[in-house]
């Protein structure tokens, strides 16, 4: 068997090996996967390692450390090397690259050449090796092999490794990167001024002309100290010409400083929202099954209030600045932006850990669009949408909503009730508001509990001050003796089923009653020994 055959066979074996894939996946989770649960611990561990190794380095400048310092240094180094190799390993799949090359050459009917495959493997790995973060990693390792003093400086590069593990640091970097053009412009201007000023001062302040500037390096040093408004004063101009140059340099220095400050400040201001949003997304990473509320209008506010009361996790997307501020004041997680942006929904975990999406904006077009987007991202997520107009109802259902609600329909209904029957209105109002102590509650009949197999008449409902509204049963239960029954989506509601109706396990009683009465009967159901 030739080497080529062996390589290809190994590549195929790796492709099929589940153990290999699992191991690689574990390393990926540890090092790179931003959503894995273990990675934050790894990041903190590495950060501590970096900081302590640099601390040991600094401490050893004036103190003599024992042999353990050498061991510690070696241990850190081993970790760094393992990390570097691990990252290099999970960056891409070598066997896939090889197989791709192989299959390509099969396709165009050319002999497969190992050298070509290796070249593309190298190319793709080189992409990782030449990335800034990988270079920093390498610089943190390399200086350990040399005892040269200047290379020890590079050991401080380890501190840059902290960037890798701290997300806020990375954000700082990305902010600066986005202002690249401005910063390069400023740098160019600075270089120009420095060149002009230092040449001038070199010329005017040379010892021959009565000055104290000895060389060109000194004049550059002086110009930089002056332009940055630091002004140590170790080198000062003595000639009139030199002082003129200094004055011009000081004025332009003010400009440079203010330009630089304004670039940084404006960059941060522009990015502030994004930094905050990222923080929200990070907090959400830990949650499961939370609710995404699109639209923090007046209805959204009420829903958020109820969810907050029940301590259920949720996040709000709202585009209006004022509403966002209101939500922030309440201490809710909120992201300012358009819910229509599918990227925003994905960032907030729709398609991953989000459990429900509520589309509550006052605009039906947006509600339909968001419903559709959320359904596309996750086929199992529960979507409840608001229809501001009657015709939107079925459009929302078509777009994939689990429920579509017309919020004002119920308001119209109870308002209409008030005209004819003001007393009945009170009862309905209490039920729809859910704020009264009397509520409509469901009580599930557990299998093999004391309720299982009893008739309604045998239940002590009256003693417990509960009014039976009806029983929810499986859809195929007979309703022979029940005078009115209604079929729900997958179950059947038996209204006022009568004293002879036999309860079975998994049936659900719907009762009106005081919340304490409901709690009472639920407790009784838990204690299996209860007998009437």
């Amino acid at each position: 068997m030739s080497i080529t055959d062996y390589v290809i066979q190994t590549a195929y074996e790796l492709e099929e090996s589940e153990r290999y894939q699992r191991k690689k996946r574990a390393v990926y989770d540890l090092l790179e996967n931003p959503h894995s649960s273990i990675r934050p611990y790894f990041d903190i561990f590495m950060m501590l390692m970096v900081i302590s190794s640099v601390f040991v380095l600094l401490f050893s400048v004036k103190h003599h450390l024992g042999a353990w310092a050498g061991w510690f240094e070696n241990a850190v180094l081993v970790f760094f090397i393992l990390e570097y190799l691990g990252r290099l390993w999970v960056y891409d799949d070598v066997h896939k690259v090889v197989l791709e090359e192989y299959e390509k050459s099969e396709l165009i009917n050319e002999p497969f050449r190992l050298s070509k495959a290796f070249r593309s493997v190298f190319r793709s790995k080189w992409r990782y090796i030449s990335s800034p973060m990988a270079i920093i990693d390498l610089l943190a390792i390399l200086p350990s092999y040399r005892a040269l003093r200047i290379l020890r400086l590079f050991l401080l590069f380890r501190l840059f490794k902290v960037f890798r593990y701290a997300q806020s640091m990375q954000q700082f970097g990305s902010i600066l990167q986005e202002k690249r053009v401005e910063l390069v412009t400023l740098f160019g201007f600075l270089m120009f001024v420095l060149l002009v000023a230092s040449s001038a001062i070199y010329l005017f302040e040379s010892p021959q002309a009565g000055g104290h500037v000895e060389g060109f390096f000194e004049s550059i040093y002086w110009a930089l100290v002056t332009i940055s408004t630091v002004g140590y004063g170790d080198i000062t101009p003595h000639t009139v010409e030199g002082r003129m140059v200094t004055m011009v340099l000081i004025v332009s220095g003010l400009g440079v400083i203010s330009f630089f400050t304004s670039i940084i400040v404006s960059a941060f201001q522009e990015k502030m929202g994004e930094v905050r949003d990222r923080r929200v997304a990070m907090l959400l990473e830990k949650e499961r099954g939370y609710t995404v509320i699109c639209g923090f209008g007046r209805i959204g506010q009420v829903v958020a209030e109820y969810l907050a009361r029940d301590k259920l996790p949720f996040v709000i997307i709202e585009r209006d600045e004022e509403a966002v501020q209101l939500a922030r004041r309440q201490g809710y997680l909120v992201v300012q932006g358009k819910a229509e942006r599918i990227g925003l929904l994905r960032t907030l975990g729709v398609g991953r850990q989000a459990g429900k999406v509520l589309c509550l904006t006052g605009d039906d077009v947006i509600n339909v669009f968001v419903t559709l987007s959320a359904r596309q991202l996750d086929s199992n997520i529960e979507i409840i949408s608001r229809a501001n107009h009657h015709q939107t109802l079925n459009k929302l259902m078509l777009a994939g909503a689990n429920h579509a609600l017309e919020p004002f329909k119920i308001v119209g209904l109870i308002a209409g009730e008030y005209v004819g029957q003001p007393v009945a209105f009170e009862a309905i109002h209490d039920i729809v508001m859910g704020e009264n102590d009397i509520t409509l509650e469901s009580i599930k009949v557990p299998c093999d509990s004391w309720m299982d197999g009893k008739t309604i008449g045998e239940l002590p409902l009256e003693d417990m001050r509960l009014i039976l509204f009806g029983v929810i049963t499986s859809p195929n239960r007979s309703s022979d003796h029940v005078r009115s029954h209604f079929d729900l989506k997958s179950l059947r509601f038996q209204f006022n089923p009568g004293a002879d109706f036999v309860l079975l396990g998994d049936d659900m009683l719907l009762v009106f009653g005081h919340k304490y009465s409901v709690l009472h009967i639920r407790q009784k159901l838990k204690s299996a020994t209860y007998s009437k």
Binding site: V302, V303, I410, V411, I414, V423, I428, I431, S442, G498
Partner: protein, 243 residues
């Protein structure tokens, strides 16, 4: 079952106003819609509502649409709380006894709307918000209610007025057993002995029905009609013969 149509004035052509007007018209009431914002009026007209544009700050205009002059009830459904309060005060000054139902945009205004003379304040956003919450966490109850009570008139919540002459007069609530006889569940009662508020039927006291009391029952429409019919025609409680 319903008596002569009532004259209702609906002020406000916002979504809530349109929905209320639509449902009232479906129930056969005589509805008059007014608003003072031209854009809202136009919008409602394109949706097929007959809205009259009047100046709501002018008392004569209010009188002309029937407030204090023929209207049985006023719905103040403007989108803006301040306008609602102003309208309520104007209407209350013209017609001291007119029932007025209003909506509140923010929770804090409910008290102010009552102070301005509202008979009843509805919080549409709270109702809608709670409905959505209910669909999320008590979906079975929400579905049942939607299917029965708030659906297309399958189950009605209705009130029965007890008169001195009816057989209900002098009966105790717990001896009626309406659920067996009529398939009606008693939700609550207004017992004039204890005031004018609705008392839920879970109340531990025994309530004796007298003339002027009101029962609130829930049940199918035909059961309700049968009961109403019996009250009007029968001399004695149908159950008495058997027991």
């Amino acid at each position: 079952m319903r008596s002569t149509p009532k004259k209702v004035v609906v002020v406000g052509s916002c979504p809530v106003g349109m929905e209320v007007a639509r449902q009232l018209m479906e129930r056969g009431e005589s509805v008059k819609m007014v608003d003072d914002l031209k854009t809202d009026v136009e919008k409602a007209r394109t949706r097929g509502f007959n809205v009259e544009q009047i100046n709501l700050q002018d008392d004569d205009a209010l009188r002309r649409v029937g407030i204090g002059d023929g209207a049985d009830i006023l719905f103040a459904l403007l989108d803006d709380d301040a306008s609602n309060v102003f309208l309520l005060i104007s209407a209350r000054a013209i017609a001291p006894n007119l029932p007025i139902v209003s909506i509140s945009g923010v929770r804090d205004t409910i008290v102010r709307l009552y102070a301005a003379g509202a008979t009843k304040v509805i919080d549409p956003y709270r109702i809608s918000g709670y409905k959505i919450y209910e669909h999320m966490h008590r979906s079975l109850i929400a579905e049942t209610l939607d299917r029965t009570v708030f659906g297309r008139g399958d189950l009605d919540i209705a009130e029965i007025h007890v008169t001195e002459k009816s057989f209900l007069h002098g009966k105790y609530l717990d001896e009626l057993s309406l659920s067996d006889r009529y398939n009606l569940i008693v939700l609550g009662v207004v017992d004039r002995e204890y005031g004018d508020n609705l008392i839920f039927a879970t109340d531990p006291k025994r309530h004796k029905l007298d003339g002027g009391d009101v029962l609130v029952v829930i049940g199918p429409e035909d059961a309700f009609a049968q009961f109403q019919h019996d009250i009007e025609t029968e001399e004695n409680f149908p159950g008495d013969a058997h027991s």
